[in-house]
């Protein structure tokens, strides 16, 4: 099977439809990424925009990465940020301040055993929470999470370490209850 990187290169070199095969490999995962953060309805609305942006940006794809999923998550993250900004008061929202966690909470399990975990997540600094959820929800390695966020892997590891340390008591309690 050809790598995502090879297919993207083919799509750049004139076989534009090769990009569709890349999308078919990752569409369920990227939809899940969007749905966990924006809900099913918005995920369906935003997924096409992710593909169009990715297709337009494919010329800049780094062929050192055989798999395109972290790159696609990075684009999905940007689409989500634009979506959330569009729903905020533009006078109040600086780009780096975008944190739609209240929306996310509304969609998460509200069962009693989850409430404490949700509260602990909410208390995390946004950069630590971003890293933790990429690892926990999307099952990315720290290196892949770093590719999504455009930061060094070492920074991801340190943020992940801090987030895990902060959540350890709550995670341990939740594990005992399940």
């Amino acid at each position: 099977m050809e790598t995502d990187s090879a297919l993207i290169e083919q799509s750049v070199q004139g076989r534009a439809d090769a990009f569709v095969e890349v999308v078919q490999r990752h569409e369920a995962a990227v939809h899940g990424f969007l749905a966990r953060r924006a809900g099913q309805q918005a995920a369906g609305d935003l997924l096409g925009e992710v593909w169009v942006r990715a297709f337009a940006a494919r010329g800049g794809y780094d062929p050192a990465h055989p798999g395109a999923r972290p790159w696609l998550y990075g684009i999905a993250r940007n689409v989500l940020r634009a979506y959330w900004r569009s729903r905020q008061d533009t006078n109040a929202a600086a780009e780096e301040a975008v944190d739609p966690w209240d929306d996310v909470i509304d969609r998460l399990d509200s069962a009693a055993q989850a409430r404490e975990l949700i509260s602990a997540l909410q208390a995390l600094p946004v950069p630590e929470r971003d890293v933790l959820l990429l690892v926990a929800w999307e099952q990315l390695s720290p290196a892949e999470a770093a590719a999504v966020l455009g930061i060094p892997p070492g920074t991801v590891r340190s943020r992940l370490h801090r987030a895990r340390a902060a959540l350890r008591p709550v995670l341990a309690a939740a594990s005992r209850e399940t």
Partner: protein
């Protein structure tokens, strides 16, 4: 998507919290439709007259879009 991390099992409750239903029927296809439109537009813009595209691939963008019905080609 694997790289061993120090505490592989402690995130189970968090993973459970992130479970979502798979997309409904037609959702993925609808999103792909937007991509096919972009693919077709690029092919058209690269060759407004269509001569080069037909010479190179034997098809025009409309043919590309119709191939969605036969993904296993």
């Amino acid at each position: 998507m694997t790289e061993n991390i120090a505490e592989p099992d402690d995130l189970g409750p968090l993973r459970a919290l992130g479970q979502v239903e798979p997309p409904g029927p037609g959702v993925l296809e609808a999103a792909r439709e937007a991509l096919w439109s972009a693919v077709a537009a690029e092919m058209l813009s690269a060759d407004p007259g269509g001569r080069t595209s037909r010479a190179r691939t034997g098809e025009v963008p409309g043919d590309v879009r119709r191939r969605r019905a036969d993904p296993g080609r």
